[in-house]
Symmetry: C2
Subunit: 249 residues, 2 copies
Amino acid sequence: MADWAISMAFGWSQITTIADESMKTRDKILLSSLELFNERGERNVTTNHIAAHLAISPGNLYYHFRNKSDIIYEIFLEYEKLVDYYLTIPQDRALTLDDLTFYLESVFDGLWSYRFFHRDLEYLLDTDPRLRKDYREFTNRCLAAIQEIFWKLTEAGIIELTSEDLRSAVSLNVWLVVTNWMAFLKTAHAGDEPASLTLTELKQGIYQVLTIQLPYLTPEYREQVVALRERYRPSLPQSCELVGREKVG
Amino acid sequence: MADWAISMAFGWSQITTIADESMKTRDKILLSSLELFNERGERNVTTNHIAAHLAISPGNLYYHFRNKSDIIYEIFLEYEKLVDYYLTIPQDRALTLDDLTFYLESVFDGLWSYRFFHRDLEYLLDTDPRLRKDYREFTNRCLAAIQEIFWKLTEAGIIELTSEDLRSAVSLNVWLVVTNWMAFLKTAHAGDEPASLTLTELKQGIYQVLTIQLPYLTPEYREQVVALRERYRPSLPQSCELVGREKVG
DNA sequence: ATTATCTATAGATCTATAGATAATGC
DNA sequence: ATTATCTATAGATCTATAGATAATGC
C-alpha cells in the first residue's frame, strides 16, 4: 500500500491531500485525480485536465494508466479498503455507544474523502464491469456489516431489533439514507451557487441515521442516544422552508 | 399542455410512449429524448443521437431547442407537474389506507417514467441554474407534502407521529429512501449485465418506505399496513447474499 | 538496458450556427 | 410571408498512440 493510501486509510487524507514532489508519478496521478473528481465531478475531469493539473504530458499519464477507467478503479480499491477497515467489528467484546459513534463518523468521513464516487456511480459501473462486480460485493459487505452492528447493539442492550427480517430491512434503509444524504444536501439544500458542501454539513446525516434507530432504542440507552443525535442536528432547519405547494386539479 | 404531456400526467405514459407521426416535431423531440435518456442515460445521449433517432437533421433539432439543457428543463417541468398532481392532498376529508397506497404507487410510477432524471441529477443542476432553483423548490414541496401526509395519517389514527420535529426527520428519511432506491437496485442488486430494471422491482421500494413507518403504526391499523407491506416484499432476498467480509487489521 | 517522459498527431465526436430550400397559412 | 427543415461546416474537445528523447539503475 502506497504511503498516501495508508494516510488515507487512517483518515489524515485532508492533510496529505496535496500531491508532493517525493511521490511516484503514478501515485500523484491517483491523488490529483481524486482531488479533481471530488472538486469538479468525474464527468467534468478529462485525462487532459489531470495531466495539466500535475504539469505532466498526457502521454506520460497514459504510460501509467491505460485510461481514466483504470484510474477510477484504483481509487475505488482504496475507498473499499478504507470502508472495510472502518467497518471492522470486534468479535471479542460487546459494542458500546462509542463504537456506534465511531462507525457513524468514519463512514461519513469515507464518503467525504471519496465524494465524487457516488455522484456518478451508475455511469461508472456501466462502463467498467470489474468495478460493477466489485462494487456489488462491496455493497453487500457493507449491508452485512450494518446488520451485524445492529445485532451486536441488540446483544449489548442498546437497541432492540431481534427479528432478522426487520433488522435487514432497517439496515438497508440506513444504507439508503447514508449513500443519498450527500446528494440531498447538494441538490435540495444548497444555495444558488453550485455545491459548496462542508464535512460538518455532511455529518448531519448522522442525525438522519439515528432517526431511523430511535424507535428501537432500549429505555436504558434511549436518553444517551437521543443526546448523541442532538449533537448532529442540522443548524439550519432546511426541511422547514415550507414553500406553498401548488394544488393541481 | 400537449397531448403526450396529458397522457403522461395521467400515467398512461407506457402506452403513448412512442412518438407518432401526428405529433408536432417539438413534442416528438421531447418524447424521444425522454425515451433515450431513460434507456441509455442522459450522459450517453447527444443531440445528434436524438435527431438520428427521429430521422430529422441536427439543424432541425436546434431550430426547436437552443440546446440539450433546454430539452431537459422542459422534461423536468412535466415531471414536476406529474408529481405535484400525484401528491395533491384532500383538504375536505381524512386520509385512508387507500390514499397511502395511491401515494406510494404513484410516486414510484413517476420515478419510473422519468428515471433518467435522478441518475444525473447533480450534473444537471450544476449546468442549469433554472433547473437548480426549480428542483430545490420541488424537493421542498415534496417534503412538505410527505409531512402533511404523515400529519393527516396521524389525524386519521393510522399512525402516531405527533412531534413535529420527528415527523419532519422521518419525512426526510422517506424522501431519501424513495429517491435512492432505484440507484440501489441498479448498482447493488442487478446482475452482471448492466441495469435491466423493471417497474415491479422498483415498486419493492414501497416495502422499504413502509419499513420506516412500521414503528409508528397504531394498534388498530398495524395489521393492515403490515399486510400491505408484505405485498411489496422483494421476491429475491437481495440483502441476504451475505458475502464473507474481509477483516482488515 | 530499462524506465519514464515528452512531442505531435490521427481519428472520433459533439455543439451550434449560417445559409439555402421546402412547406404552410393567409 | 412565415415557419419548418436540411446541408455543410467551423471550432472545440478528448482519447489514445507512435516515435523520439531523457533519466535511471546496474
